[in-house]
């Protein structure tokens, strides 16, 4: 195929074209990757070296590298706490949202019931409501939930689910776009399979669990990956929902470190390297996931991007 597509230019022009192409690809690669390399190398340098000299070739000499910023970041700057909180948050959101969304996707894609189209339209409509519009009223809602967190029946007196894991996780237990993705996929499966199960007396949740889900590995993976990636990086909601370091996700924690409200202010000497070490640790889990599941991430974008 590639053969038929190639144009027959005179050899010299063809050579020039190809050279330009390679140069373009390499420039793109440098632009995309350089900030990561710079971040990684700067985080390994000892503080004095990076701040005094800035960019030098010495930075790339492994003999000058030190893991001290990482140790400081992990122990003293609470990165370990942030990572733990983020892991709990991201895993909970991923498991819950994937489950609820696939159940709803199954129902909307394969069952018939009154008001189905209306309800599905409602789900689609919520897809266009972004978190940046809802985070403020949602914050008030969580703060004033009746009978929770010391609140009375009118939601006054206490602080509801503010500053709790439940408050952090609850608004993210379902994702409308994931429902849509699951529904589209489930509609392509043959109907005979579940009918056979139904005749055998299998209930709907069992059909979902035993027949539909085992056939849906790829789409489950895509949804779970994007749920995890999104909640790992989440910033606005954890920022407004947490008032103590205990509940800081990695993004909120890094923000508070950068602007001095964390516990790092007294370590100005290592400050920059420690911040960069924290950033590397915030990025690494996603990098590993991406290396392991690159194909699924790319497919996911093609699916969600163009419906």
């Amino acid at each position: 195929m590639a053969q038929t597509r190639r144009l027959r230019l005179p050899p010299r022009e063809e050579l020039l074209y190809r050279t330009l192409l390679v140069i373009g690809i390499l420039i793109g690669l440098v632009i995309a990757a350089l900030p990561f390399l710079w971040m990684a190398v700067s985080s390994l340098g000892t503080a004095g070296m990076v701040i005094r000299i800035g960019f030098t070739w010495d930075m790339f000499n492994p003999l000058n590298w030190s893991l001290e910023p990482y140790i400081v970041a992990w122990k003293m700057a609470s990165i370990s706490k942030y990572i733990r909180t983020t892991t709990i948050y991201a895993v909970a959101v991923t498991v819950l949202a994937t489950t609820t969304s696939s159940l709803a996707g199954y129902v909307f894609g394969r069952l018939r019931f009154p008001a189905r189209d209306f309800l599905f339209g409602l789900v689609l409509a919520t897809m266009m409501i972004p978190g940046s519009v809802t985070f403020l009223p949602l914050f008030i809602l969580m703060l004033r939930l009746p009978l929770l967190g010391g609140n009375d029946i009118f939601g006054a007196g206490g602080h509801g689910l503010y500053n709790s894991y439940a408050g952090l996780i609850l608004p993210n237990v379902v994702s409308a776009s994931s429902i849509f993705l699951f529904r589209q996929f489930f509609r392509t499966l043959p109907k005979d399979l579940e009918d056979a199960a139904r005749i055998d007396g299998c209930s709907e949740p069992m059909i979902w669990l035993r027949v539909i889900m085992p056939l849906s590995g790829p789409v489950v993976t895509v949804v779970a990956l994007f749920q995890f990636q999104g909640s790992w990086n989440a910033f606005v909601w954890p920022l407004v929902m947490s008032s103590s370091e205990r509940l800081y996700t990695i993004s909120v924690g890094m923000y508070s470190l950068a602007y001095g409200s964390g516990s790092l202010t007294s370590m100005a000497e290592l400050f920059q390297s420690v911040l960069l070490a924290g950033s590397v640790m915030a990025v690494l889990p996603i990098l590993f996931l991406f290396i392991a599941f690159q194909r699924q991430f790319v497919q996911g974008i093609a699916l969600t991007g163009l419906k």
Binding site: L21, A32, M39, G54, L103, F113, L122, E204, L287, A302
Partner: protein, 304 residues
């Protein structure tokens, strides 16, 4: 006998139907209920709150009618905010699309290592905006940052990029484009793969060159993708927040403050929740209009 079997069968089917409907409502409940409570209700809440003066911590609320909207339209800072957000949009949308399209054209070929290259271009999209914002702050460091060093090579004097009124917004836009172009690229690549090879073959038979193939086949056929990216890019631009928070905190002197940043500040720093809600409603309307155009375009020009 035959009648009995038939009616038993009917009964069985009716039983199945009833159970199907019952289960359907049960199983969508854990999805639909949270959507109603945590997405639909807050929108109604924002609209309601925007007509009040509200303090969430002491829970005192006073109805003041459309005063918050009047305040927004009189307020110089709100005007600055809108201008900044539009400046960001005007810079970010075309640039992220142009860079993404160029990257897609570069990487739309079957060569060794292509999936590694696509992955490397795409990686910035997946990473934490806060973490990469910190890395970029360091790259923009005035004396020793890489940006200053590179620009010095072409004779540009180093300056405090993120704290100068004329360079702060371009710097934020630049990082936003860096962070987003991989996504635009992947969507363009998906579009490119949907163009039949035969179109190109036919044009080549007619003697079309590379430029003409791009101009008369690729670009026109990618128009729906371009339109989609244009709208999505605008919707994202209107909501830019993380990057501004970490890189400039809206400064210098509000030069980079954006709508969502102002919503956040007014709600959580100045305790002006009613006023912040009015801004959220304005944002919601803008996004709803853009979404409507997107939906209109795609439901009229393409069958999905």
């Amino acid at each position: 006998m035959a009648v009995g079997t038939a009616s038993r069968f009917q009964e069985f089917r009716a039983e199945l139907r009833r159970s199907e409907v019952k289960w359907a409502y049960t199983l969508i409940l854990p999805a639909v209920l949270p959507l109603l409570i945590f997405t639909v209700l807050p929108v109604l809440g924002a609209i309601g709150l925007s007509f009040t003066q509200f303090d969430a911590f002491s829970a005192t609320m006073r109805w003041i009618g459309p005063e918050n909207y009047g305040e927004a339209f009189r307020n110089d800072l709100f005007r600055t905010t809108i201008r900044n957000t539009l400046q960001f949009t005007v810079g970010f949308v075309p640039l992220s699309m142009a860079v993404g399209f160029t990257a897609a054209m570069l990487l739309n070929r079957r060569i060794r290592g292509i999936s590694f290259l696509r992955g490397a271009y795409y990686l910035p999209v997946l990473t934490s905006t806060i973490a990469m914002g910190i890395a970029w702050m360091w790259l923009f460091q005035p004396q020793v940052g890489l940006v200053s060093l590179v620009l010095k090579l072409i004779g540009v004097q180093p300056k405090d990029w993120l704290n100068s009124p004329f360079t702060a917004m371009p710097a934020v836009i630049g990082v936003a484009v860096w962070k987003a172009f991989g996504g635009t690229m992947l969507i363009y690549l998906a579009g490119l793969q949907g163009i039949p090879e035969t179109f190109y073959d036919a044009a080549k038979v007619d003697g079309a060159g590379r430029w003409q193939l791009l101009r008369f086949i690729t670009w026109p056929l990618l128009r729906p993708v371009t339109f989609y990216l244009f709208i999505i890019g605008m919707i994202d631009s209107l909501q830019v927040f993380d990057l501004v928070m970490i890189m400039t905190e809206g400064g210098p002197a509000f030069r980079t403050t954006t709508i969502v940043h102002q919503i956040y500040l007014n709600a959580f720093k100045f305790n002006q929740m009613g006023y912040a809600s009015a801004m959220a409603v304005v944002l919601f309307i803008a996004i709803a209009v853009l979404t409507f155009f997107n939906w209109k375009f795609f439901s009229s020009s393409l069958e999905y």
